[in-house]
């Protein structure tokens, strides 16, 4: 038992005794039952997160109509569904490309901004972050227009550097997913940057002094000193990146709808199609459970192996 709790108890008793003597003030409900502080967050979790998860698990054992019990057959169906494997492959590409590219780009931008700018620092910080605050539906339509054949500026400007695009990036099954990944990188690099900016600023300056005195400069300083010191940020970006990958939806839904011919299908679009367009709630639920399982398994794996945190500042072990 924490002594502070003991103190609190005795203080409460004393306060109660005193208030009884002088002004008989009733103790409010929350003083008598402090768990009321926990209640709103917990209720919201139970009703709007836990219950839907349980529901979706239950529903995944049912048929298309949601009535008859079909055991694991929806899962069997998923594993023999080529589109499901396409989804997994696309999700793998998505994570394997966006996460490291955003880290390297965002980290480099953050390093250059924090170390080498002074008056223009705020300007650069804000500008590189703008895509993050630009609505994703706006971003999707602008990029779709840029990628468009004939009048799109992407193919037009690629000509200047000698690349002749003969296909429309979003219409070609083999590259559609990569065209979408580029949009995602563009939108979210600013987030990696801002996280690294926070990380760089929390490095004690004594460490830099020591490194500079020891003769570390330029690349040496960046790679040998800064990168290792930023590893908590890198680890949380990895965790957030994996979760973010499985969260992906609007960019794909708005730009290709998972097409052409399921080539850029991801969990979000496929679950949406099965659940809301086709109306097969059983299969949609099975896919949901698989996505959920993947997200939890990968997160737990990272937390166990790398010690990743959802936010790097929870560095202390929880007590």
């Amino acid at each position: 038992m924490e002594w502070s709790v003991y103190v609190q108890r005795s203080m409460n008793k004393a306060a109660a005794a005193e208030s009884e003597k002088k002004l008989p003030r009733r103790r409010s409900l929350v003083e008598r039952c402090p768990y009321l502080y926990v209640l709103p967050a917990t209720l919201m979790f139970v009703g709007l997160v836990a219950y839907p998860i349980l529901w979706v698990i239950g529903e995944s054992f049912r048929g298309a109509s949601g009535k008859d019990f079909v055991g694991f057959s929806q899962y069997v169906r998923a594993f023999s569904d080529p589109v499901f494997w396409r989804v997994l492959l696309n999700m793998f590409y998505w994570g394997a490309i966006t996460i490291p590219v955003q880290m390297v780009l965002g980290g480099s931008i953050a390093y250059l901004i924090e170390r080498h700018t002074s008056r223009s620092r705020t300007f650069f910080r804000v500008m590189f972050f703008l895509p993050v605050v630009t609505s994703v539906s706006v971003v999707s339509i602008v990029w779709a227009q840029m990628y468009a054949p004939y009048y799109g500026i992407v193919q037009e400007y690629l000509k200047y550097i000698g690349v002749q695009l003969t296909i429309a990036p979003l219409g070609e099954p083999s590259i559609a997913i990569f065209a979408l990944i580029l949009v995602n990188i563009w939108q979210w690099t600013g987030f990696s940057m801002i996280m690294y900016i926070a990380g760089i600023n929390s490095i004690p300056s004594e460490l830099f002094d020591a490194a500079l005195i020891d003769g570390a400069h330029g690349w040496n300083l960046a790679i040998r000193i800064v990168v290792p010191l930023l590893s908590p940020v890198t680890r949380s970006l990895l965790l957030l990146g994996v979760i973010g990958t499985l969260q992906t939806f609007p960019i794909v839904h708005l730009m290709t709808g998972g097409g052409p011919d399921h080539a850029s299908e991801i969990f979000g679009t496929y679950i949406f199609k099965q659940g809301f367009v086709i109306g097969d709630s059983g299969y949609s639920s099975a896919l949901s459970v698989l996505a959920l399982f993947l997200a939890l398994a990968l997160s737990v794996l990272q937390i166990a192996v790398l010690g990743s945190r959802l936010s790097p500042q929870t560095r202390r072990p929880a007590t």
Partner: protein
């Protein structure tokens, strides 16, 4: 007590900027760094510039495959503002977003207070369970949420979005606020207890002022995320009366297919408020970050 709080955050800020001030490298490389950043930024801004550029084009030029086209015209803006009830969508988004931010701040800070300051039994266990929310893809629970909201008759209602958004946002808010409370000097709370504060008084007069940067950070981040959320809004807001701002481009992209100038004017109108808001509040957002919302 507030003075102590201010000192703490001032101290953090000094640590934060000391690095920047003390470690200006040789000016030569700094010069190249600025050039690299400027070139990269110019490339990075192409989509944003293109968006504005298309919105300013007359109809006959709007399909020109170039970044800049002259002359510019504001006709598109006049047309779309005149023809469409855009204000309605902003109102919907604003109500939903502010509602969500408030619920997240209240429920998140209460929970963080119980777990970090009051240290009630079992709150750490509940905390860890709540954190799993952050690993749940929205896609996985969108179907049951839609069915649930339908059975409550909450489809096309503000609470139909506010409550799910809040439920998904609260755990992250708790992480941030709790970390700030964990870092706060414990003596302050003990002193408050000895002075006979009730837990509620301590919550409002000690805990919340101490974690103000965290609250501001959470509010700004939650605002951005909620304002731009797409998937749940798509499923919950089915009639055009209740659509939020992020759903609007989809609605108009068919309608203005042949007139990208007008469509892009709508895109600019939709993107601009949040961009301006961010520019306005970025100072507090960054301050929250640097004072420990995210530590390396």
């Amino acid at each position: 007590m507030t003075a102590a709080g201010r000192n703490v955050s001032a101290g953090r800020r000094i640590v934060g900027s000391a690095f920047a001030k003390r470690h200006q490298l040789r000016p030569s490389f700094g010069f190249y760094a600025k050039i690299i950043l400027t070139v990269l930024l110019a490339l990075w801004m192409i989509p944003e510039v293109y968006m504005v550029s298309v919105s300013l084009r007359p109809p006959d030029k709007s399909f020109d495959p170039s970044l800049f086209v002259l002359p510019i015209t504001f006709d598109n803006f006049a047309t779309v503002i005149h023809d469409n009830p855009l204000l309605r969508f902003f109102w919907n988004s604003l109500v939903i977003t502010i509602g969500t931010v408030l619920v997240v701040l209240v429920a998140g800070s209460m929970f963080a207070y119980a777990a970090s300051v009051l240290r009630l039994k079992k709150t750490m266990l509940i905390y860890i369970i709540l954190l799993t929310t952050l690993m749940v893809p929205v896609a996985s629970i969108v179907l049951p949420l839609a069915i649930m909201l339908k059975s409550f008759d909450w489809i096309n209602s503000y609470q139909g979005l506010v409550l799910p958004y809040a439920a998904l946002g609260i755990p992250y808010a708790i992480v941030i606020i709790k970390a700030f409370m964990d870092d706060s000097p414990r003596d302050l709370f003990e002193a408050a207890m000895i002075d006979g504060c009730t837990t509620l008084q301590m919550f409002f007069h000690v805990a919340l002022p101490l974690v103000k940067p965290a609250l501001i950070f959470v509010a700004i981040w939650q605002f951005i995320v909620t304002w731009n959320e797409f998937f749940l809004a798509l499923v919950v807001m089915t009639d055009s009366e209740h659509k939020t701002v992020t759903l609007v481009p989809m609605q108009y992209s068919g309608m203005y297919m042949a007139n990208p100038g007008a469509l892009f004017a709508i895109l600019v109108i939709i993107a601009l408020p949040l961009i301006l808001l961010y520019i306005f509040v970025q100072r507090y957002f960054i301050a929250g970050l640097l004072s420990g919302a995210v530590k390396g």
